[in-house]
């Protein structure tokens, strides 16, 4: 036994006298994780979060969350002698007077952008593969909550430096809060300690950003990981993979090296990007002054869809009994995000209700096999994408010399027209792929080789597909659409909850009704038999025809 192993087991046994480390190690050191590139998306999110915690702590060393006006005297000459908040002045100090300060700030900002991007792409991976199904619904809800909280956290973070760009963003949020019926004005005054902008907002936001929200996120991240660990990772279908096993590599040493190494890769790449690509150059915007603004104001990308929605909404406002309701602000900025995010969190439960599926799922769906779910996903992406584009309508208008009015009008129409079309197209595409899978399984792949038989008949040779492909295709589980119950039983007693059940059956038909049935084992056996027979038949015929070489046409 090598010295390293001997010393490690000695340390282990000493530790074990205080806590049951060995039992933990025994159960988990060789825990199996399956391998797939798409499983690294969540890792990117996790590592970005760790980078954010680490760099965030450094930034707090120098940042002063105060709106007290000071006169700037620092290394950045263009702002010398300008009056600004202490927050902005200290952010400039981090950028220009602390060695490596700018680097830490830029790593922090890039990591925030990657954190959000990785979480959202990870969510779509989970969605399209059905990984949110039982028993992982709670982890979906935790993950979705982290995206929502991450969005707020990101907004709070880039608002803290109190530069002109972020100040305008805060002003917009104040306007949104004001639009909330009944309590909006009060809420705004409580948040800002009075009228906008006041002197309280930045210090309050700071506590929110560095203590409250990271604490919640950290707790959710921990819970998320514990559940991933406990449920064991889902896996893609393939030979040897079933719903009751997990095939892959052990946590120690392979995943320790791979996942641990990947943390360093994510950190390293983020740092290199921060070295070369300037992000959020607050010095170029100047300090926040409530009556100034920069043209082309853009929020960070993950806020873009909200801004796009705000830009596209028609100018509706009503006054009822002396009270104003700003539909044009309240609906796009509060109601619609609420509905979208609420539907997102509720999705696993909605799907389980519609399909009546209560089974445990550890083997991932191929997106084509859940055509309606996949179509809902692409539909959502198209809706989101249109809003993101409209969030940058001024930039696009300028870059392509189109009036921004046209882009806004395009958005107003497109959000209603494009997503349904995308839904239908995706669903068709998925069903087509299902049909193709069935063909592949039963008839194999077209080889492109045409064979003329001696009696003149032309046949195309089909080559059977490999067992790997068969294993993947045959992972499809046919879930029958639910039948509507009869309104009453034979004794005339009404079925309880009949209407809800009928509605559910309708949704279920929409979900699975058009699915292409997988071939049964008997059909596959018959197809294989047929293929052999055909082959034998050909051979016989060839023999009869005096061993003439068949004429082959190859394309």
């Amino acid at each position: 036994m090598s010295v390293i192993v001997k010393e490690a087991s000695k340390a282990l046994s000493r530790a074990d006298e205080r806590a049951p480390i060995s039992s933990l190690a025994k159960a988990n050191l060789r825990k199996v994780f399956p391998d797939h590139w798409s499983f690294m998306l969540g890792e990117i999110a996790l590592y970005s979060f760790l980078i954010l915690l680490l760099t965030g702590v450094y930034l707090t060393i120098w940042f002063k969350p105060s709106m007290t006006e000071v006169i700037y005297h620092g290394s950045y000459a263009p702002l010398e002698g300008i009056s600004m908040s202490e927050a902005y002045s200290s952010a400039l100090k981090i950028s220009f007077d602390v060695r490596g300060g700018l680097l830490i700030r830029q790593i922090h900002h890039w990591a925030a952008l990657f954190f959000m991007a990785a979480m959202i792409v990870h969510m779509f991976r989970i969605f399209f593969t059905g990984a949110f199904r039982k028993p992982r619904e709670i982890n979906w809800v935790i993950g979705g909550s982290m995206i929502i909280i991450g969005l707020l956290e990101g907004f709070a973070g880039y608002s803290l430096p109190d530069d002109l760009l972020s100040g305008v963003g805060v002003r917009i949020v104040a306007g949104i809060v004001e639009s909330i019926p009944v309590i909006g004005t009060y809420l705004m005054f409580f948040i800002f300690g009075g009228e906008f902008p006041g002197n309280d907002f930045i210090p309050r936001l700071y506590t929110f950003h560095v203590l409250l929200v990271p604490g919640i996120l950290l707790a959710l991240v921990g819970l998320h990981l514990v559940l991933v660990f406990y449920h064991k990772h889902t896996q893609y279908p393939g030979p040897g993979r079933t719903n009751t096993n997990v095939v892959g590599f052990p946590l120690f040493p392979v995943y320790t090296a791979k996942a641990g190494g990947f943390f360093f890769v994510v950190f390293g790449v983020t740092t290199l990007i921060a070295a070369f690509v300037t992000i959020n150059p607050i010095w170029a915007y100047g300090p926040y002054v409530p009556d100034q603004v920069t043209a082309g104001s853009q929020p960070d990308w993950y806020i873009g869809f909200l801004d796009g929605m705000l830009r596209a909404f028609p100018p509706l406002e009503s006054t009822i009994w002396g009270h104003t309701i700003s539909w044009n602000v309240f609906v796009p900025a509060a109601v619609m995000p609420g509905i979208l995010l609420g539907a997102l969190l509720a999705y696993p439960f909605i799907e389980a209700w519609v399909t009546g599926d209560r089974g445990e799922h550890h083997l991932l769906d191929r997106p084509r096999n859940a055509a309606t779910r996949t179509a809902l996903g692409t539909m959502t992406i198209s809706f989101y994408g249109i809003l993101v584009i409209n969030g940058a309508n001024d930039i696009i208008a300028q870059a392509f010399s189109i009036p921004f009015n046209n882009i806004t009008w395009f958005t107003r129409v497109a959000v209603f027209v494009v997503p349904p079309l995308v839904f239908l197209a995706t669903r068709r595409l998925c069903l087509g792929l299902q049909r193709r899978d069935r063909d592949l399984l039963l008839h194999g792949r077209e080889s492109g080789q045409i064979l003329r038989l001696p009696h003149g008949e032309f046949i195309e040779i089909h080559t059977p597909i490999s067992d790997e492909e068969r294993a993947v295709i045959r992972s499809k589980v046919d879930i029958p659409a639910l039948e509507a119950p009869s309104a009453a039983d034979e004794n005339g007693v009404a079925t309880p909850g009949y209407k809800a059940l009928r509605r559910r059956a309708k949704f279920s038909r929409l979900f699975y009704g058009d699915n292409v049935a997988s071939p049964t084992a008997a059909e596959i056996a018959a197809a294989e038999h047929h293929a052999h027979e055909l082959h034998d038949h050909e051979v016989d015929e060839l023999h009869e025809a005096g061993k003439d070489a068949p004429a082959q046409l190859t394309d």
Partner: protein
């Protein structure tokens, strides 16, 4: 979620324990069969780790040697802070190389035979569930939670009220709005001065077609007294001058001075300051959400999400010939709010 209808789909589990197709045979890597390839991989990994350590040395040198005030022009990439570039590159490479080395090690040299783990059922065994339910029932019985209704009900009442102070505490986060959103510091005879320069304005100082940002003369004083920018956030205005015959309508009779109109600068949508003026159409465009207002026609909305016209400030000239306000705004400026009416 109990389910009284339909098939019991929990049996949808077409995958019995045995896979339809077995795990394909393991293929050895070159590094498993050729010791020379293995040694080469070993050298690659070691080189990455060593290079990482060198990068850290370079980082420390860069930290000491490069001041934060030096900049470097990288052409298409742009002008970068030298220190940021050097520290970021050395530190970034150092960490990246550790990661790449570890991954290369895992991929080329660590055992790569897939292993199979069986999944355990996610839930607890039935005996445990039953035992837990029984233990819980025993605890409930021992506490008397069910029979002692008065304790139970008062406890629920107490727990329901206990968060109240936590919310009441928040009351002093801010003052109540009162009527503060309805007024600005503009009043009769407030002099209008150009932003930043503080220059007082006579009508002849403004050429036709110009737009200037302006504020009340006493704004700086008010800001100093209150220590906030609140007054500026509401009182900021823009002045535009057009030919009097170009003015189709305005919000009050005689609110202009020789074709000079004063409007709030704060967008009625969500409050961004507005400064983009399209002179020919007399339209004012908000850079945040593209609400567009026609200043020659009472500041009404002609495009975008804003629902409300831009409030106009009635102006006149004082005895010395300077532009002044006739009064405060006649309606609240900025975004709408519930009590606005």
């Amino acid at each position: 979620m109990s389910d009284t209808h339909g098939k019991d789909v929990s049996t949808i589990d077409a995958h019995s324990d045995a896979p339809l197709y077995p795990l394909p045979p393991h293929h050895h890597r070159l590094t498993d069969t050729d010791p020379r390839a293995a040694r080469r991989a070993e050298r690659q990994v070691a080189a990455m780790f060593a290079l990482s350590a060198l990068c850290i040395v370079a980082f420390v040198v860069g930290y000491v040697a490069i001041p934060t005030t030096s900049f470097i022009d990288l052409g298409p990439i742009g002008v970068l802070q030298t220190s940021n570039l050097v520290l970021g590159t050395t530190f970034g490479l150092a960490i990246l190389l550790i990661g790449l080395g570890a991954i290369q090690w895992a991929k080329k040299l660590m055992a790569d035979e897939e292993i199979v783990d069986e999944r355990h059922p996610v839930g607890s065994p039935v005996e445990d569930q039953e035992a837990a339910a029984e233990l819980f029932a025993t605890g409930v019985a021992e506490s008397g939670f069910v029979e002692r209704t008065i304790i139970r009900r008062t406890l629920i009442a107490a727990l329901a009220l206990f968060p109240v102070p936590l919310i009441v505490f928040l009351k002093d986060m801010g003052p109540l709005p009162g009527t503060s959103l309805r007024t600005t510091i503009w009043k009769k005879n407030s002099r209008i001065v150009v932003d930043v320069t503080g220059q007082k304005l006579r009508p002849e100082d403004l050429a036709i077609g110009t737009l200037v940002s302006a504020s009340p003369e006493d704004l700086d004083k008010v800001q100093e007294e209150t220590g906030t920018q609140n007054a500026r956030a509401k009182a900021s205005i823009i002045l535009v001058r057009m030919r009097p015959d170009e003015i189709k309508s305005q919000q009050g009779d005689g609110w202009d001075v020789q074709g000079i109109l004063a409007f709030s600068k704060i967008c009625t949508h969500v409050g961004c300051p507005i400064a983009l003026y399209q002179q020919r159409q007399h339209s004012l465009l908000c850079p945040c959400h593209q609400s567009t207002f026609d200043l020659s026609d009472s500041g009404k909305v002609i495009f975008g999400p804003a629902a409300r016209r831009m409030p106009q400030l009635p102006i006149t000239v004082d005895s010395e010939g300077y532009l002044v306000a006739q009064s405060d705004f006649q309606e609240p400026v900025g975004p709408s709010f519930w009590e606005r009416g």
